[in-house]
């Protein structure tokens, strides 16, 4: 129906350097500055949760499914296929992961969940690549279909005497291994059952900045699930694959200009199929992670995380590192909301300070209008912080979505999606 769609996502505006070297160094500076501001806010407001290891551990756990979904989006959109169906593929991942985890054990759950998601990806690939169906249409259809399939399968498998119900699976058997860093976070090392928990020791002393950094680091290092390790490892892997290997370059070329790629002998359809199927598998893994966090499958478990993954993809400018940062940010906001109300309230001050810093940066660049806007926003957040006691949880949940809309409308100049993203392609077509 929708013919040629050239405007899916945002129009690619301007080129960004293909080699992200200096950008990585700059992002470390931003991370360090943010941490410092966080510590100052923590000191002013007295909400220890802001930098506690528990908050960061929870943030990591909440970020992982978003990260899987976001990377799933990356693998699909880098080959030029928009994947709104991530949510559905994630649902398939949760169902098949839980079913196999319950029947055969944890690692079978991982394999089946991946396969379930990949099957969803294959369906999307067949519809969009072979049959040229509009990408959004196919994605929406897959979301509806996946929810129906999961519901049907639950009804026929989990009813009679299994301990499950049409809306939820029995407990999955077995667990994946969990990793704790030896010496730094007190994990086992070779035959030593318990090594010193160096970071924990630092954190307990409440030294300004030192303990905060230790808390953050420890949160990211103790009781880390195997799937978390995989997810985090996938960030550099995806970067290496797409920007350092020959096949990765071919895959990207298909997402940028399939006609040119075809003329150079790249198998456009094959590359697209590979990307979209892997995309589904990654989304499925995100679903599996949710299942093992909860110990069961239940209906609505994905809770729109496929869509947040899509937001993370845009927020992260279609790059693995950016997606990781976005997922971390969204996970952190979520974990504060779960862990304590005062901490979320303290975050208002953090936002106010961050906006003020950004305003100063713009003043330094002699750009009055954005600086003024930021000053107004900053004082608004400051007033909100000063005059209120808490932030309603329902509104905190909307932060990732509002942030994405803001980034899309303010920074779309520096966003750089793949050029052919979302456009149908048929072999032999002219421009």
């Amino acid at each position: 129906m929708a013919g040629e769609r050239t405007d899916i996502l945002v129009e690619p505006v301007g080129e960004s350097p293909s080699h992200p070297g200096p950008r990585i160094r700059r992002s470390w500076v931003i991370v360090a500055a943010a941490l410092l501001m966080l510590v100052i806010v923590r000191e002013v407001t007295g909400s220890k949760e802001l930098t506690s290891s528990f908050t960061f551990a929870a943030a990591l756990a909440l970020a992982v499914p978003i990260l899987f979904a976001g990377l799933g989006g990356l693998w699909s959109e880098r080959v030029g296929v928009v994947n709104i169906g991530l949510e559905g593929m994630m649902i398939l991942g949760t169902w098949f992961g839980a079913w196999a985890g319950w029947k055969f054990g944890a690692w079978y759950g991982v394999v089946f969940g991946m396969a379930g998601g990949a099957a969803g990806g294959l369906l999307h690939a067949v519809a969009t690549i072979t049959f040229g169906v509009d990408h959004i249409v196919s994605g929406v259809a897959i979301n509806i279909l996946a929810a129906g399939v999961a519901r049907f399968l639950s009804v026929i498998t989990y009813t009679t005497g299994t301990g499950g119900s049409p809306a939820q699976s029995p407990q999955v058997s077995g667990t994946l291994f969990q990793f704790t860093m030896p010496f730094l976070a007190g994990g086992p090392f070779l035959w030593i059952h318990k090594t010193p928990d160096l970071l924990g020791w630092f954190e307990r002393h409440h030294w300004f900045l030192v303990s905060d950094v230790a808390g953050v680091a420890k949160g990211l290092m103790f009781d880390v699930s195997a799937l978390t390790l995989i997810a985090v490892a996938l960030i550099p892997f995806s970067y290496w694959w797409f920007w350092r290997t020959r096949t990765g370059l071919r895959m990207r070329s298909v997402g940028e200009n399939p006609i040119a790629a075809d003329s150079l002998g790249v198998r456009v359809y094959t590359m697209k199929y590979i990307g979209v199927v892997i995309s589904g598998a990654l989304a499925g893994l995100g679903g599996v992670f949710l299942v093992f966090e909860a110990g069961i499958y239940h209906e609505g478990q994905t809770g729109g995380r496929g869509y947040i993954g899509l937001a993370a993809l845009i927020f992260g400018n279609w790059r693995p590192g950016g997606i990781g940062a976005a997922a971390g940010l969204f996970g952190y906001a979520d974990s504060l909301q779960l862990r304590s109300d005062p901490a979320i309230h303290a975050l208002l001050l953090f936002v106010a300070v961050a906006l003020a810093v950004a305003a100063i940066w713009f003043v330094g660049r002699k750009r009055a209008v954005p600086a003024a806007a930021l000053v107004i926003l900053s004082s608004g957040f400051f007033t909100w912080w000063a005059t209120s006691e808490s932030v309603p949880g329902q509104l905190v949940g909307t932060v990732p979505y509002i942030a994405t809309l803001v980034v899309l409308s303010v920074a779309s100049q520096s966003l750089r999606p793949p050029k052919w993203d979302g456009r149908p392609y048929r072999k032999g077509q002219a421009l």
Binding site: L9, G132, V410
Partner: protein, 371 residues
């Protein structure tokens, strides 16, 4: 030629439905159920008088949702946000309706206008973001869906809920007084003792359907809309302002989306409750696709989907999971878009061949002249 074309386009949804029957038959066979008895029971049950009323009541909101989506589709705008638009609209319209006392017709009008305004404003945000900042409406409407959920539950829990709720699960807005409700059509049509009344809101849905046809196919605005959808560049060159078109279309689409929840609100629920139907926005996308944005097609598709939902209730009584129809609906959507795409390619190939034929024909006398 024209008749054959139309038959071809009609064949696509029929093939898709047949394929979905096949897939769900396989699903039923896998769990050792006879598909023929299952589907036979569904047809027998779904064609009884009471069930037909229930089907029509369910079809009307689906139809409205699909029209809201289709208006956008007609100019290549993807309003995935009907879900959030009708949710916020229903919540706020219910609150406004419960807060005032007015004469009957005025009261209902106020509620409907509120709902349409809320839906239009919420969709309008996506339109403005697209025009001024180049943000794709696909992404912005998805994000706005989630933001609507957050803001809605915040408003409901803090400001709009009825104060005397026994528990969190009973959270709801205050009841709309009788003057704000929609009458049923039962007396008018002489229906006696129905299981559920036939909602008068059906007339609103029909009116919207007619208005959709008239506006899109019979007005200058509609012409511009379709022209922009077919070829945005050409439309712009011929004097259409694409930015204004985007915003106007999103506003209209959102206003119709605001009406989606009104049948349930004004004929059955009388207040916004936590078990208010969800997912109608996504079903609307599916139905607009199956009905190819054509008012009659959309009406048929929404009746089909409503029929499946209502008639599937008999399956549970026979020990067959009624969820099989969700698979059916999913397969219909996916296979119908594939089928339409195949037909489109076929038609295109025919056109190319016909054009080639035409260019060859006048060449013949030329040869004669040369000889």
């Amino acid at each position: 030629m024209k008749v054959r074309r139309a038959a071809l386009w009609l064949l696509a949804p029929i093939a898709a439905i047949a394929f979905s029957l096949l897939v769900s038959s396989i699903a039923l066979l896998l769990i050792h159920q006879n598909p023929f008895t299952a589907f036979g029971n569904m047809v027998k049950y779904g064609t009884q008088g009471n069930q037909i009323i229930s089907i029509i009541n369910r079809a009307a909101p689906l139809f409205l949702s699909a029209v809201a989506v289709a208006i956008g589709f007609k100019m290549n705008l993807f309003n995935i946000g009907v879900e959030g638009q009708y949710y916020l609209a229903a919540l706020l319209a219910a609150s406004v309706g419960a807060a005032v006392h007015l004469p009957p017709v005025l009261h209902v009008t106020l509620i409907l206008v509120t709902a349409m305004t809320v839906g239009a404003v919420w969709a309008g945000i996506a339109g403005v973001l697209k025009v001024t900042r180049g943000v794709s409406e696909v992404i912005s409407t998805i994000m706005l869906n989630f933001i609507a959920t957050g803001i809605g539950s915040y408003l409901l829990l803090n400001y709009l809920k009825r104060p005397t709720a026994a528990s969190d699960l009973a959270t709801r807005t205050r009841e709309i007084p009788k003057s704000g409700l929609f009458p049923s059509l039962d007396k008018l049509l002489g229906i006696t003792n129905p299981n559920e009344p036939l909602s008068g809101f059906l007339l609103v849905a029909i009116a919207v359907g007619i208005a959709y046809y008239v506006v899109v196919w019979r007005t200058r605005f509609g012409f511009n809309l379709r022209a922009t959808g077919l070829n945005a560049q050409a439309a712009r060159v011929s004097g259409v302002n694409p930015g204004a078109m985007v915003i106007q279309t999103m506003l209209i689409s959102g206003a119709v989306a605001g009406l989606v929840g009104m049948l349930y609100l004004l004929s059955f629920f009388h207040a916004y409750t936590l078990d208010f139907p969800t997912g109608l926005g996504f079903s609307g996308i599916a139905i607009a696709l199956v009905g190819r944005n054509n008012p009659v097609g959309i009406a048929a598709a929404s009746l089909l989907f409503a029929f499946l939902e209502v008639s599937a209730q008999i399956l549970d009584l026979n020990g067959i999971p009624k969820e099989v129809i969700q698979i059916m609906q999913g397969v219909i959507i996916l296979s119908v878009v594939v089928a339409y795409e195949l037909v489109r390619r076929l038609v295109e190939a025919q056109d190319v061949r016909a054009a080639a034929q035409r260019t060859r024909e006048p060449a013949a006398p030329l040869e004669g002249v040369a000889a």
